[in-house]
C-alpha cells in the first residue's frame, strides 16, 4: 500500500440549474487571453447533446483514453512508436471548428454610426482572423436542447438505442458541468512526447509545464474528456489547473466558490497508488467504478494513516481527509459516480446523478416516484456514469429518494417507511450536506502548500502564468 492524497470534487447534478456561472468566472480568471479565446477549462453542457467540442464522447472518432489490449493498458491512440509517427500530422486531433471560431462584435459601430433610418447593428467579427464572420457554431449551441437534430447525435442516446428517448411527451434533459477530472491514470500525461504534463504528488492536480511543452499536441486527442486545449497563439497546451494557486492557500477552485446552486463539493481523498494500474485494467468496464471505490481508503484507518505519513502526506492533509465531504459522498453513501469510467483514466471529479420529474407514462399512478419512473432514463444515466450498469444508478437514485421521503415524513409528522437502508439520522446528515450544503460543510481543504503570503502573491499578479518571457512566441 502506498497512500497518496488527491484533491477531489463532487458535483451534485440534482441541483445544477445550468446557469454557467462556473464557466464564466473560470473564463474570466483563466482563459480571457489571445489564443485561449475558444477555451473553456470549465463548461456546462445540456445532456442529451453533443457537447464541447462536438461529440467529445465518441472515442471511435477521437481515440481518447485507454484500452486493454492483451491484458496490457495501452493508449487508444496507439503504441509509443505508432504515436511518434503522428508527430507531424495527428489524424485524431480536433481543430478549431470542432469547438467553434471565437468572435466578438463591432460594438463601435453603435457609437460611430451616422444618423440613419434604422438602428446601427454590431456585427460579429472573428477573434482569429479579425474578419467579419457568420456565426455557425458556438459554446452551448445545444443549450437546453436547442437544435434538435444535433441533440439526437448524442452518442449516449445512440448506445441505449431507445426510440422513445426523445419522444415529445417524455423529452428529458439535465446539465453536466465539466472541468478537468485530474485523473488518477491520466491519458494526457502518458501521451505527451516531451513529458511536460505531470501529476502533482501533494494534491494530485494534473498540470502542463508551459516551459517543457513543445506543442506536439498529442495530449489533446488523448484526453477522452477533451479537457486539454491547444493555444494557437503561444503554441502550447493548456488545461484546467484546479485553481492550484487557490488550493495551496486552502481555497476551493473558482468554479466551486462561485457556484450559485452550491452543487460543488471539494475535499481530500486518500488512495492507494499501487492499485491504480490494476483498477484501470479491469476487464469489465462496468466493474471499474467498484475498483475505483476499492482504491479509495478509509482516512481513519491507522494503517492507511501510517502509510500516508511514510509517503510524506502532511498532517493538515490527513486531517482534511478525515472530515472530507467528498469521501462521505463517494464512499460513505455511494452517491457520487465517475463520469465515463469506461475511458479508464479513473477521473477524480465525481457526479451525483440527478432525480427528475415523473415520466408521463407513470404520471397518473404514483405520487412519489420510484427511481425507474423518472423522466431521465436510467439507461441514459448509466451510459454517462457507470459504463451501462443500471443497477448502480437505481441504487443511487433510490437513496436520494429515500432521503426525500424521510425528510418529508419528518416535516408532515408521519412515521418514516420501514426497510430503509440507513437510519433516520444518516438521512438527515445526507440532507444537511446535499440540501443545505453550507460552504464550510461542502469545502474542506487543507491550507499550507503555498509558502508565499497573500501579499507576495499579489505582487506576482500579471508576471506569472501563460505570458511569454523572452519574446520568442
Amino acid at each position: 500500500m502506498r497512500i497518496k492524497a488527491q484533491v477531489c470534487m463532487v458535483m451534485n447534478l440534482d441541483k445544477c440549474i445550468g446557469c454557467h456561472t462556473c464557466s464564466i468566472t473560470c473564463k474570466n480568471v483563466w482563459t480571457n487571453r489571445p489564443g485561449a479565446e475558444y477555451m473553456y477549462f470549465n463548461n456546462v453542457e445540456t445532456k442529451p447533446g453533443i457537447g464541447y467540442p462536438k461529440n467529445w464522447e465518441d472515442q471511435e472518432k477521437w481515440k481518447g483514453g485507454w484500452e486493454v489490449d492483451g491484458g496490457e493498458l495501452v493508449l487508444k491512440s496507439g503504441s509509443k512508436l505508432g504515436r511518434l509517427l503522428k508527430l507531424f500530422y495527428h489524424p485524431e486531433q480536433p481543430e478549431m471548428d470542432d469547438y467553434y471560431e471565437p468572435w466578438t462584435y463591432d460594438y463601435e459601430t453603435l457609437i460611430t454610426s451616422p444618423r440613419k433610418k434604422h438602428q446601427p447593428v454590431a456585427r460579429p467579427r472573428s477573434l482569429i482572423s479579425q474578419r467579419r464572420m457568420e456565426i455557425k457554431w458556438g459554446p452551448n449551441w445545444n443549450d437546453d436542447l436547442a437544435g434538435g437534430d444535433d441533440v439526437r447525435q448524442d452518442i449516449n442516446l445512440k448506445k441505449i438505442g431507445e426510440e422513445i428517448a426523445l419522444e415529445f411527451n417524455d423529452i428529458f434533459m439535465k446539465y453536466l458541468p465539466r472541468n478537468c477530472n485530474h485523473c488518477l491514470n491520466p491519458a494526457c500525461v502518458a501521451a505527451c512526447p516531451s513529458g511536460a504534463i505531470y501529476k502533482r504528488e501533494e494534491d494530485g492536480v494534473v498540470l502542463v509545464s508551459q516551459d517543457i511543452c513543445r506543442g506536439w499536441r498529442h495530449c489533446v486527442p488523448a484526453c477522452p474528456y477533451k479537457k486539454i486545449y491547444y493555444n494557437w497563439k503561444t503554441n502550447k497546451a493548456e488545461k484546467c489547473t484546479f485553481c492550484y494557486p487557490r488550493l495551496e492557500n486552502g481555497l476551493p477552485t473558482v468554479c466551486t466558490d462561485t457556484c450559485v446552486g452550491r452543487i460543488r463539493y471539494m475535499g481530500v481523498l486518500l488512495y492507494d497508488m499501487n492499485g491504480v494500474a490494476d483498477a484501470a485494467k479491469t476487464s469489465d468496464p462496468k466493474m471499474i467504478y467498484a475498483q475505483m471505490l476499492g482504491l479509495i481508503k478509509d482516512p481513519n484507518d491507522p494503517e492507511v494513516i501510517e502509510s500516508a505519513r511514510r509517503e510524506g502526506v502532511s498532517e493538515a492533509v490527513l486531517n482534511a481527509a478525515k472530515v472530507s465531504p467528498v469521501y462521505q459522498l463517494i464512499k460513505g453513501w455511494n452517491l457520487a459516480l465517475p463520469l465515463h469510467p469506461e475511458f479508464r483514466t479513473l477521473p477524480m471529479v465525481w457526479y451525483i446523478p440527478p432525480l427528475s420529474p415523473i415520466a408521463k407514462k407513470f404520471e397518473d399512478k404514483v405520487y412519489l416516484p420510484q427511481s425507474e419512473a423518472m423522466r431521465i432514463p436510467v439507461a441514459y444515466l448509466a451510459q454517462l456514469f457507470t459504463a451501462g450498469n443500471t443497477q448502480i444508478i437505481l441504487q443511487v437514485l433510490q437513496r436520494l429518494l429515500d432521503m426525500r421521503t424521510v425528510m418529508r415524513c419528518k416535516e408532515v409528522g408521519e412515521a418514516p417507511p420501514q426497510n430503509l437502508e440507513f437510519d433516520a439520522y444518516e438521512y438527515e446528515k445526507m440532507y444537511k450536506l446535499l440540501a443545505i450544503a453550507k460552504y464550510s460543510e461542502r469545502i474542506k481543504l487543507p491550507a499550507g502548500l503555498q509558502g508565499k503570503t497573500h501579499e507576495e502573491l499579489r505582487e506576482l499578479q500579471g508576471s506569472a502564468g501563460y505570458v511569454c518571457p523572452g519574446g520568442f512566441c
Partner: protein
C-alpha cells in the same frame, strides 16, 4: 572578400547556431515550440507536411553523404564518377521534388488561409524566404550541373573538401574560387539558415530528435513534487 565569406562566415554561423540555441533554451524555453498549426487548418496539412519533412530528411541525408564522404573513399571502393552521380541524382531529384512540392503546398496553405495568416510571425516569414532561396539554389544548381550547363564542375572536388577544411578548423578558401555562383548562393543560404536557426521555429527539429527518446524511455504517468 572571399576570405570573409568562406573563411570567417562559416564560423560566425556555427557559433551563432550553438550559442544562440543555448541562449534561447536558457532564456526563452517557454516560447520553444513546434508551432503546430494543425489546430487552425487540419485538412490542408495532412499530405504536404509529410512531403515536406520526408523531402527535407532525404535531402539532409544526401548532403551529409555528399559532403562528409571524401571522393577518395568512394573511388577506393570502386564507385565510378558516373555511377556516383546516378546514385546521387536518383536520391536527390525525388528528394528535391518532395521538398519543393511540400514547401509550395505548405506556403499556399499558410498565405491563402486567413486564419493561418494571423499565426504567421515575422520570423516565420524570414525563415520561409531563406528556406525558399536555399531550395531554389540547391535544387536548381544540382539540375543545371547534371545537364552540364555549369561546365565540368564537380562539387566533390571543391565544396566538399572546403567544407571538411572548415570542420578541421583550417579553411582552404582557394577551393571556393571556381565554384559557380549558384552554389555560392546556396552556401550563403545555408549559413543564413544557421544564423537565424535559434531565433525561429526551426528549433523544433532539435525537440523532434529528443522527443522519441523521452517518450520511449519514460514511464506512462509522471509524478512531480511541487
Amino acid at each position: 572578400m572571399s576570405g570573409f565569406f568562406w573563411g570567417a562566415l562559416p564560423y560566425i554561423a556555427l557559433a551563432t547556431l550553438v550559442v544562440g540555441t543555448a541562449y534561447r533554451y536558457a532564456a526563452g524555453e517557454r516560447g520553444w515550440s513546434t508551432k503546430s498549426s494543425e489546430f487552425l487548418a487540419k485538412d490542408s496539412l495532412k499530405v504536404p507536411i509529410w512531403l515536406f519533412h520526408l523531402g527535407l530528411l532525404m535531402a539532409f541525408g544526401g548532403h551529409v553523404i555528399g559532403i562528409l564522404i571524401p571522393k577518395s573513399i568512394t573511388d577506393g571502393v570502386g564507385i565510378s564518377e558516373h555511377l556516383y552521380h546516378i546514385i546521387a541524382l536518383s536520391g536527390g531529384i525525388p528528394a528535391g521534388i518532395l521538398f519543393l512540392g511540400g514547401f509550395f503546398l505548405l506556403m499556399r496553405r499558410r498565405f491563402d488561409n486567413p486564419r493561418m495568416k494571423v499565426n504567421t510571425s515575422t520570423s516565420d516569414g524570414l525563415l520561409y524566404f531563406v528556406l525558399f532561396l536555399a531550395l531554389i539554389t540547391g535544387f536548381g544548381g544540382t539540375l543545371l550541373n547534371a545537364v552540364g550547363l555549369l561546365g565540368d564542375f564537380n562539387y566533390r572536388e571543391a565544396i566538399s573538401p572546403w567544407f571538411r577544411s572548415v570542420l578541421a578548423m583550417s579553411p582552404d578558401v582557394s577551393l571556393m574560387a571556381d565554384v559557380p555562383i549558384i552554389f555560392k548562393c546556396h552556401l550563403l543560404c545555408a549559413m543564413a539558415t544557421m544564423i537565424i536557426f535559434p531565433w525561429t521555429r526551426l528549433v523544433h527539429c532539435l525537440t523532434g530528435i529528443v522527443a522519441p527518446f523521452e517518450l520511449l524511455t519514460r514511464s506512462n504517468i509522471i509524478y512531480r513534487r511541487k
